[in-house]
């Protein structure tokens, strides 16, 4: 298949990289649509690109998958896509307030990572966390209810878009301060090593956070102490409105660890992500920290307040959508292996849409928190101390 480069008119960026061949070299056989359950057949595929590495031997770009995995990837990413688009509408309808940072375009990172790890491994990320939370086992209801500030939300309505958590599945949030999650993630890895759990932590951050000093402080300590910390830069090429080349003297984020090995990954290829995360986990358990740079893209602006077009062209956005969309990649693979046809996938998308709509309806039914919830969870142990409302002669309470 001929590979051609399409240059973006605005900055000559490499965002529109070729949609390289991912076709299996073995002849495909016509299969019935029960491939959704087919776990036994092995398909060999290649990632879009070989991995580029820094201070380590890259993993192979050839890997194995099953029809079931392919179909699951499609469905799960379609679900995430639909969820984020629905959140966009809810925000415009003023049912979601404050900040809302959407992940559509980046689904492959969340899904590929989950496929490579267990719920005993930890993930921590910044504020673009809706899909990461879903990937860790959170429900649509918990997402929408939290976004709308209702009791059924993952943080009972008290956190909001940027503060989803699911500790029982190793998801530690959900953080609003750019870069803070990186030392926190290294701390989780410290805990895992201290407890001899043989698990790892993935600390996700964006290209905007990649220049934060605390990243290098935490990475230094992690390397000194051999912590099983995997730093994952979700490089969507824009830190809010600032393009990577305007923020970083060296935007080769996978190399920024210097003595820490790194891998550059096509973040729009779920299999590349899976392979890289698997590789990183093995590495981190033996050798300490490693950096993964996921080359990805967000279709929305930085947040719902950002149209996303003052600092990049619409051509660039539609170009990436056309050439590198993660869901389309899987769609093409599914067709190439005859696992399903156009209508089947449309049906799945309809199902997913229905699931999302039902969750939204349910979330709308969930009440807002009781006023007394204002004063809960400040402390685990309040020792009977007092807390106050704005007028302490009016509202005063004792913390248990």
């Amino acid at each position: 298949m001929a590979l051609s480069r399409l240059a973006s008119s605005s900055s000559g960026s490499n965002l529109l990289r070729p949609f390289a061949s991912a076709l299996s070299l073995t002849p495909s056989l016509r299969r019935p649509i029960s491939s959704a359950a087919d776990d036994s057949t092995t398909l060999t595929i290649e990632t879009s690109l070989p991995f580029t590495s820094h201070n380590c031997e890259p993993p192979s770009r050839t890997l194995e998958t099953t029809p079931k995995e392919l179909m699951t990837f499609f469905r799960d990413m379609a679900l995430m896509r639909r969820m984020e688009i629905a959140a966009d509408s809810l925000y415009k309808a003023k049912l979601i307030r404050g900040f809302c940072h959407l992940y559509d375009g980046q689904e492959a990172v969340a899904i590929g990572m989950e496929a490579a790890i267990t719920k005993k491994d930890c993930i921590i990320t910044a504020y673009r966390d809706h899909c990461t939370f879903l990937g860790r086992g959170g429900t649509l209801l918990q997402v929408f209810a939290e976004l709308m500030g209702r009791q059924a939300g993952s943080s009972k309505g008290k956190g909001g878009s940027m503060h989803f958590y699911k500790k029982d599945a190793g998801f530690y949030g959900g953080h609003g301060i750019v870069g803070a999650q990186i030392p926190l993630g290294c701390g989780l890895a410290f805990g895992q090593k201290y407890s001899k759990d043989e698990t790892v932590t993935f600390a996700l951050y964006g290209d905007g956070a990649a220049n934060q000093g605390q990243l290098f402080e935490a990475l230094n300590i992690s390397a000194l102490w051999d912590l099983p910390a995997i730093l994952v830069c979700e490089n969507n090429h824009y830190g809010m409105g600032t393009a990577e080349w305007r923020a970083a003297k060296s935007p080769a984020y996978y190399k920024r660890g210097d003595y820490v090995p790194g891998l550059k990954v096509d973040g729009m290829d779920v299999f590349a992500v899976k392979q890289a995360c698997k590789f990183a986990k093995e590495h981190a358990l033996k050798n300490g920290p490693i950096i993964l740079e996921m080359d990805t893209y967000r279709y929305h602006g930085h947040s719902m307040s950002d149209p996303g077009s003052t600092y990049r062209t619409r051509d660039e956005i539609s170009g990436v959508r056309q050439e590198r969309d993660p869901i389309d990649r899987i769609r093409k693979l599914i067709f190439a292996h005859d696992l399903a046809n156009e209508k089947d996938l449309k049906d799945i998308e309809k199902e997913v849409r229905k699931e999302v709509d039902e969750a939204i309806a349910q979330a709308k039914e969930s009440p807002m928190p009781e006023p007394s919830e204002l004063f809960t969870n400040i402390y685990v142990k309040g020792y009977g101390t007092e807390s106050f409302g704005p007028d302490r002669k009016e509202i005063r309470t004792v913390l248990p």
Binding site: A180, L184, L188, E217, A218, N220, N377, V380, K381, G384
Partner: protein, 373 residues
């Protein structure tokens, strides 16, 4: 029992002997526990508390600059590396933001870190993690993520260390819901409050005082027991009195006790409250005392504006206004960055005579009190 306190300073300055302020522990020897002659320095009290809590719970570990091989910049962690090994006593690079964030992350995971700041001035490099990553997490996660971490180290002025090394952070940290802020004075306080802090499931800022480290206090068998713990949020009445309430914390408790001795000779009976806990603040003990004495002097070492005394004054005005016979008096550090020259430094921090003067002002405002010459 006046003594000259000597200390070796590890941070920054060339090693030198420092003459600490003279503090008389004599008055505290009059308190309840002095039947046994056993005394313990605050340093040893902190060290023993850390030792016992590490022994009792394998999840407790220490992290900070020079806590291990150096035996602690102020020797608070002396011997602990040898006893517990390098996995549990971690020397860090000089990167507060990084190691504090790592500590908070370890607490998220379920460990019980004790993070040392060589002084709390350096905590400002990590304050985002203390406030946004630690204090608020339990609330933002509706109880899913609690953070059982202790941030400890010397706070406030030492002697001659200048503006960047002398600030008191009690008021800043105590503003934030979700944090607990403790300020031990005596060795009993140091042991009981540090043990309570380590056992506490919430983030605790534990503000020690360098000058107090070398000071000795009498200590009872009860306090020496490994299960000894002091309640968080309860102040202690160090000296009972009936004419004026003096609230203080940390080193200023000693000064206030000295002031009370002087006032007693002039016929003013001062009640000295050792706050022990700035957040939660023991408003009940303070208000009960003011309702008894009708006069209040707040004492602190830190900057006056928006300080601890301001909060105490507001609390008393809100809850006990009718009981006040005089305006509330505030004694605090001078509203200046800490100067170096010894005479200026002396003018920048509260002295015993300042507390005495304020108490007298509080007492002589009412016309019914007989004024003595």
């Amino acid at each position: 029992m006046l003594g000259i306190l000597r200390q070796k300073v590890g941070a920054g300055s060339p090693s030198a002997m420092i003459l600490g302020q003279r503090i008389c522990p004599a008055t505290s020897a009059m308190r309840g526990f002095a039947s046994s002659a056993k005394e313990m320095t605050v340093r040893d009290a902190l060290n023993s508390a850390l030792d016992e809590e590490m022994s009792a719970d394998p999840k407790v570990f220490l992290m900070g600059e020079e806590v291990g091989e150096y035996q602690g910049a102020y020797k608070i962690t002396k011997g602990l590396l040898d006893k517990y090994g390098p996995d549990r006593v971690r020397d860090t690079p000089i990167t507060e933001a990084g190691f504090t964030g790592i500590g908070v992350g370890a607490a998220y995971y379920g460990l019980r870190p004790v993070i040392e700041f060589m002084t709390f001035n350096f905590s400002m490099q990590a304050i985002d993690h203390i406030i946004n990553s630690a204090a608020k997490s339990n609330y933002m996660s509706a109880g899913q993520i609690n953070v059982p971490i202790v941030f400890r180290g010397p706070n406030g002025a030492a002697a001659g260390v200048g503006a960047q090394h002398s600030q008191c952070y009690a008021a800043w940290y105590a503003t934030c819901p979700g944090l607990k802020v403790l300020t031990p004075y005596s060795s009993e306080d140091a042991r009981g409050l540090l043990k309570a802090a380590i056992r506490d499931p919430d983030p605790v800022v534990f503000l020690e005082n360098e000058i107090l480290y070398g000071e000795s206090f009498p200590i009872s068998a009860e306090v020496l027991d490994s299960s000894f713990c002091l309640p968080i949020g309860k102040a202690k009445i160090e000296r009972e009195g009936k004419d004026v309430t003096i609230t203080a914390f940390s080193k200023m408790v000693g000064y206030s006790l000295q002031a009370a001795e002087i006032l007693a000779k002039e016929g003013i009976s001062a009640e000295v409250i050792n706050l022990r806990s700035i957040r939660p603040l023991d408003r009940k003990t303070i208000n009960d005392s003011v309702r008894k004495t009708n006069r209040l002097v707040t004492v602190e070492e830190g900057f006056p504006q928006h300080g601890v005394g301001a909060e105490i004054c507001a609390s008393v005005v809100e809850d006990s206004f009718g009981y006040l016979d005089a305006p509330v008096e505030r004694i605090a550090g001078a509203d200046v960055p800490m100067p170096y020259a010894a005479n200026l430094e002396r003018l920048a921090v509260p002295q015993v005579e300042d507390i005495v003067r304020a108490a007298k002002r509080a007492c002589y405002r009412a016309s019914s009190l007989a004024a003595s010459a």
